[in-house]
Structure formats: C-alpha cells, structure tokens
C-alpha cells in the first residue's frame, strides 16, 4: 500500500528551483532511501512533506489525505515524525525528558478517545501522567540501548547518542512514517553499524522509514526502495540493485565518461 505520495511537487526559492516536479512514492512498511549529490533538493523535499515549508505547487498525499501546506504540528499529529541533519534536541533537558516531550502530545491528546473524564483531566493537567510517560520514555531509550544516558543533559551526550536520542524521540510519538535526514552523518563505523541495526528494529515495529543518506553502504544494505534526485529532479527509482547499475545515477555522481 502507498502510504505517502508527492504529486508534481515543486518548490522555488526566487529563481532557484530546489525541487522540480517531483513525484515521490513511499510504500508502507518498507525502508525507502532518498539519495542524490549535495544540493539535489533532498532536505527541501523533506521540508515540504513535514510542513516545515510550503511547496510552490504540487500535492502531498499521506494515508489518502491531502496534507499539502498544513502546519508542522498538525502533520506531526497525523503521524509523520522526522529528525534533522543538524540535530534538534532540547539541549538543556535530559535525554529522558526529551523523549517525554516527544510522547507528551501523543498521550491523552484527544479527550474523546478514552474514558471521558479521565482523559479530560489528562488533557488539562500534565502532572498526573508524568510517571507513565517516564516509564514509556525509558522503554524507548532502552530500545536504542541508551538508557544509561537517561539523566544526562542532551547537549553533553556523545554525537552518535544524540542522533539516536533524536530518533528515539521521533519514534516515541508512534508515527506511521519516520523521516531520517542523514542519520549516519558524522558517525564512526561502530556507531553506523549500531544505527543500521536500530533501523532494522524500527522496520520490524511496522514503521515506514524514509531516509536521506550519503553513506552508500548503509543505503544499499538497508533500503528496499531508492529514489535518486539530481538538481531538484527525480532521475531514478527502484531497488538498490537497479539503482547501482543505473546509467543516469552513475552519471549524476561521477559525471559522463566523455568528460574525462
């Protein structure tokens, strides 16, 4: 089933067309890779989908609904979570508090869903459920093997842990769709290996993952589908094996043979 689709999405900045008529598809339950040389428009495409920015034209369809141009907070409540290329944590809060905030606006955010009065209470008062949130947040940290760092301030954590914490926080809101923007950037090989196992675990939870990544080993190993952008346009899509041998892709990354 197709969980997300962009239809002829275009984003212009002045005269620059950062994303040009891109129709990008994501199948439910799979890990989809989005690759391309620097400046190809990958992050811009992410921003259009997650509501951080509004497209010039085109549509974003998520779960059968048109979500084009909705504000980021609404899109996040609909079930799309993301991480950033440059890590965005609450730096002055501890790791577990970061995850608790991710959970907070998920739990009890709808007063009509459960027992009315109890839910209404939790809708107004934050304190009653703190214990429950804390437990859940610790579970998520455990899922990423970083429960030891729960009480550390986010800004004091090692880089790799910060990245995983950001993913843990995004995942704690139980999204249907998770966007990872260069999750392995700046990681050492050991951290990258751990990240790969983590993404595998996320897939087994049934969460659909879309990731931007430059680490080709990671992309080719973990993705079921790959879409390639270059100069804002989609130049290829398919399985890792098909992409590896695609002439356009090789040209985009290495240049034409005649150029040498």
């Amino acid at each position: 089933m197709r969980i997300l689709e962009t239809q002829n999405l275009t984003r212009e900045f002045g005269g620059v067309i950062a994303v040009n008529d891109v129709s990008f598809k994501v199948e439910e339950g799979l890990v989809t890779g989005l690759i391309g040389p620097n400046g190809a428009g990958k992050t811009t495409l992410f921003n259009q989908i997650t509501g951080m920015d509004k497209p010039t034209s085109g549509k974003v369809i998520f779960d059968g609904k048109d979500i084009t141009g909705l504000p980021a907070w609404k899109i996040s409540r609909l079930g799309i979570a993301r991480t950033f290329q440059n890590i965005r944590l609450y730096r002055e809060l501890t790791a577990v508090e970061n995850v608790m905030l991710g959970l907070h606006f998920k739990v009890g955010s709808d007063p009509f869903r459960h027992r009315f009065l109890q839910s209404l209470r939790s809708y107004v008062f934050a304190s009653g459920e703190n214990k429950e949130l804390y437990g859940k947040a610790m579970e998520w940290l455990g899922f990423f093997d970083i429960a030891d760092s729960a009480q550390e301030l986010a800004r004091n954590l090692p880089y790799g842990t910060q990245r995983e914490l950001e993913i843990a926080r995004a995942l704690s809101a139980e999204p249907k769709l998770l966007f990872l923007d260069e999750p392995a950037a700046g990681m050492n090989p050991a951290e990258t290996a751990h990240l790969m196992s983590v993404i595998d675990k996320i897939r087994s939870l049934g969460v659909t993952v879309v990731l931007i990544e430059h680490d080709m080993k990671l992309v080719m190993n973990i993705c079921d589908q790959i879409t390639v952008l270059n100069f804002g346009m989609k130049i290829a899509e398919g399985t890792p094996n098909a992409i590896k041998t695609n002439r356009d892709v090789i040209e985009a990354y290495l240049g034409r043979e005649e150029d040498f």
Binding site: Y90, L101, A126, S127
Partner: protein, 306 residues
Amino acid sequence: MSTFTLYMQYIVNGITLGAIYSLIALGYTMVYGILKFINFAHGDVLMVGAFVGLLVYEALAGAAEPGMWTIFCFFIAMLASMAFCAVLGMFIERVAYKPLRNANRLAPLLSAIGVSFILSNGAAWIFGTTSRRFPYPFENDPIHIGGVTITPHQILVIIVSVAMMVLLAFFVNKTRMGKAMRATSLDQPTSMLMGINVDRVISLTFAIGSALAAVGGMLAAFDFRVYPSMGTMTGLKAFVAAVIGGIGNIQGAMIGGVLLGILEAVGAPLLHIPNGMRDTVAFAVLIIILLVKPDGILGKNEREKV
C-alpha cells in the same frame, strides 16, 4: 517614629509597589522567553486595562457608598478588564508581530513601539489627556501594626498579586498548555515537530501577559491615577524589573519586581533623592545590573552562539 519603623514602612510600601511591577514584568518576560523580543507596547496595554477597569467600575458601582457591593464591582471590573486586554494582546500579536516573525529582529521591536504610540494616542483621543482618579471601592482607613501603617489598598494589591502569581505558576508548571509553553520557549521549531501548536502557544502567552498587565494597571491606578501615558513609566520600570530578575525567567520577574519596588522605596530616602528624581533609582539599578550581571538574578549565563 524610630528609624527602624520608618524603614519598615518604606519596605512595606516597596513591597506593594513591587508587587505591581512584578505583575507587569511577567508579561515582558513571558513574551521574551518565547519570542526573544521585548514587547514595548506592554506598558500601554496596562493603561488600556486601567481605563477599561475604571469605565466598567464606574458603570457598575456608580456613586454607591463603599461597601461589599463596590468591592464586588471592583472584581467584576477587574475580570472584564483582564478579558478585554487578553483579547487586545492576542489581536496586537496577530496584527503587528506575527507577520514579522521571520523578519529581522529589529522589525517587531519597531512595530511594538508603533503599537505603543497608537494605544496611548488613541486613548488620549478617546478619553482626553486629563488624569482621572480611580475611586477606592472600600474605606481606605489605614491599619496600624506597631509603628507601621498598612492601607487596605496595599493589602488588596498584595493579595491580588500573590493570587495571580500562584495561578500563573500553577498554569505554567502543572497544565498541559503550560508544558507546551515551556517547551516552546526552549526551542520553537522542535516543539512544532512534537505536535505543539506554536501559534496558539504564542497567542496564549500574549493573552496571559496582557491580562496580568490589566490587573497591574488597575492596581497601579489607585496610586498613579488613570491617564493615557500612565503606561510609559510604569511599563519601563516593570521592564527593568524583568531584566533584574533575568529576562525570560518567570520567577525572576516576580522577584525582580518586588526587589525593584523595595530598592526604590528604601533607596530614595536613604540616598536623600528628592521626590521628583525617584525614578532615577530604578534606572540606576538597571545600569548596575547590566554592568555586573547582565543575565539578571535568575538568568542563565548563556552566551548566544553566532
């Protein structure tokens, strides 16, 4: 009267004055905490609050003798004034600041100064520039405790201020929306991704800040009378109070306000500053704080990264 009781009296007067500064400082500090911008129209919202309170009070109480009825009228007028200013605050934010949210940091600041002029001149146009007395809703006979006198008006100021601050602390620390507010002040874009409706949080911040300013304006009106430019000096001093406490910090604004009130009430007689020059105390304190501890008493010593 001994020097001791004299200074006790100054301190009591200072605490009452300071409580009013605190209420107003909260509006500056909350807006700064979330938007990193000084809302210079805040002082004039206080003036509007005083005018609305006065009009509603006069309409309800008329020429009635001070008693239970007039006290009741006073609180109704206060609620009406809070509601009016809350809506006004949200409206100002929506019209004058929100369109500039991604602009240069100077732009909303200038816009705020513009709003400030519109409010004070608008009030002068509608109500005229003569100052009006805010009648006491009760007999203001002073009570003597030892050598120190306290007026019922001062007691009212302290009770109302403390109640407002307790309510605010409860809201910010215990409710879901308060938590959203704290998260937003830490990091706006990230909070948006956590599913927080940042626009609504900002609107609410202005509503709460302006409602508190309305209360501050009405309480200040007994002492300072009601006139279109009353918000300028009181607003500036409340801003000083917010800086003393550490701008962006809610407890800081509460402490800073009371501290400034006491410094002003005690400092002026102590240093033999003539009455017309009293305001210099507040601004001298501002200069000293900015030189010695620019982040304020409770402010975090955090250098902004460039």
